[in-house]
Amino acid sequence: MPTTREIKRRINSVRNINQVTRALEAVSASAVRKAQNAVLASRPYAQYAHQVLVHVAAQSRGVPLHPLLEVRQDVDMICVLLIAGDRGLAGAYNANAVRRATSFVERYQRPARWVTVGRKGTDLIRRWIAAQKDSETAAPFLKQQEIVAEFSHLPADPDVSDVTQIVQVLFDEFLNQGADEVFVAYTNFINTVTQQPRVLPLLPLRPFEASSRAIADLVETPPEVRLRGRDYLYEPDAVTILDEVIPRFTELQILQAIRESLSSEHSARMVAMRNASESAEALRGLLQLDFNKARQLAITGEILDIIGGVEALKQNDD
């Protein structure tokens, strides 16, 4: 049986941990509300913007109307944007997002150029890439994974201007660096307790049917959009309007993915910290019980000693 002092020390350290987890839980709870409001407010715009993109993409069978709509026959290399968190202590949030992304690449079997958002995600991907390089059994495409850009410390409430750079990198990868397809791996926010890591095709933009063919079971299929006739009118003209609409709406898709991920991260952290607080409290209760027992045992021991002493003195007196 440990001494009361040892138990007391453990109680104190558990209490400290409990205070930290409760503080983190409170911080996340307020962040969650803000992030949730932001994500829900901008979701309709992002969804309709996606619909418009699909309508436009469906126009360009044969000759693409815009470079970002070009569907390439052979996909030799892909680019994956991974959105994860800067910090840990969010349960399985970061690990899940990364696992979803890497398992997608493993099954799609293509060399990937990674663009990462979030320090934790970057670390995990880097470790995964190193493991592939060290492994003797890994397929050749797994040895051709590399991180081409990393971003971190996005503001808590990101705006279009915060994602411009990320989007520039992705466009550059697609247009100039040899990536034939671009995917986004992020965590979809469903509610406080449920978040769903997913991989969405981003570039080239294409109508629903085209994207469903090759990779349907590997990625989340975006909601189906009812296509319209082929003959769109453009005002002022197709080039002007597509140049404006396509990059901007693509940017918004990324921004929305980041907002979804942020909401998910805060929710995951809040739930993880709440669980940790509850475990800490339970542990503290158990330790308190041990402490009481140990204290009682010590007192009993002392009383026995005293009584023993008194008895001994009495015998001496006699």
Binding site: P44, Y45, Y48, V52, G229, Y234, E235, E244
Partner: protein, 148 residues
């Protein structure tokens, strides 16, 4: 078959209906009226008033740029920013206008100038539309028949 109309801005969904008879859109190439079965059209939005005509009612919005996707049965208005005319607070608008004018007189340079000019244009358009429609209380709704 009536038109389905969706008005969203970057930060929220402003309006949804499935029973519109006509939408009047401030396109960058001029105002256009959209009736059901319009040919598919994609156009940019100017700053101006967007009107959704639904039976006897006209819902007015002020939109500040954006894109509109017109289909035979559905119109999606994706505004960079937008507000319902009934939400406009005239004193805020006046204040914004005065502030923008004051800043303009300090003759700022480059980007800032463009931003302030944009602000000023916004405030002026909001004020104009508000006055034409008559504000939240005096909104006498014209019907399409009356127009004809």
């Amino acid at each position: 078959m009536p038109l389905e109309v969706e008005v969203v801005s970057r930060v929220r969904q402003l309006y949804h209906t499935e029973n519109a008879d006509m939408v009047l859109i401030p396109g960058s190439e001029g105002e256009l009226g959209v009736l059901p079965n319009h040919t598919p059209l994609l156009t940019t939005l100017a700053f101006g008033e967007l009107r959704v005509v639904e039976g006897d009612a006209i819902n007015s919005f002020v939109v500040y740029g954006g894109v509109v996707d017109v289909g035979p049965h559905k119109v999606i208005v994706l505004a960079d920013d937008a507000e319902s005319v009934s939400e406009i607070n005239m004193s805020d608008v006046e204040e914004a206008r005065a502030r923008a004018r004051r800043l303009m007189e300090e003759s700022p340079a480059g980007d800032q100038r463009a931003m302030i000019a944009q602000e000023l244009r916004r405030a002026e358009i909001a004020a104009k539309i508000y006055q034409r429609v008559g504000g939240p209380s005096g909104r006498r709704i014209r019907t399409v028949e009356e127009d004809e």
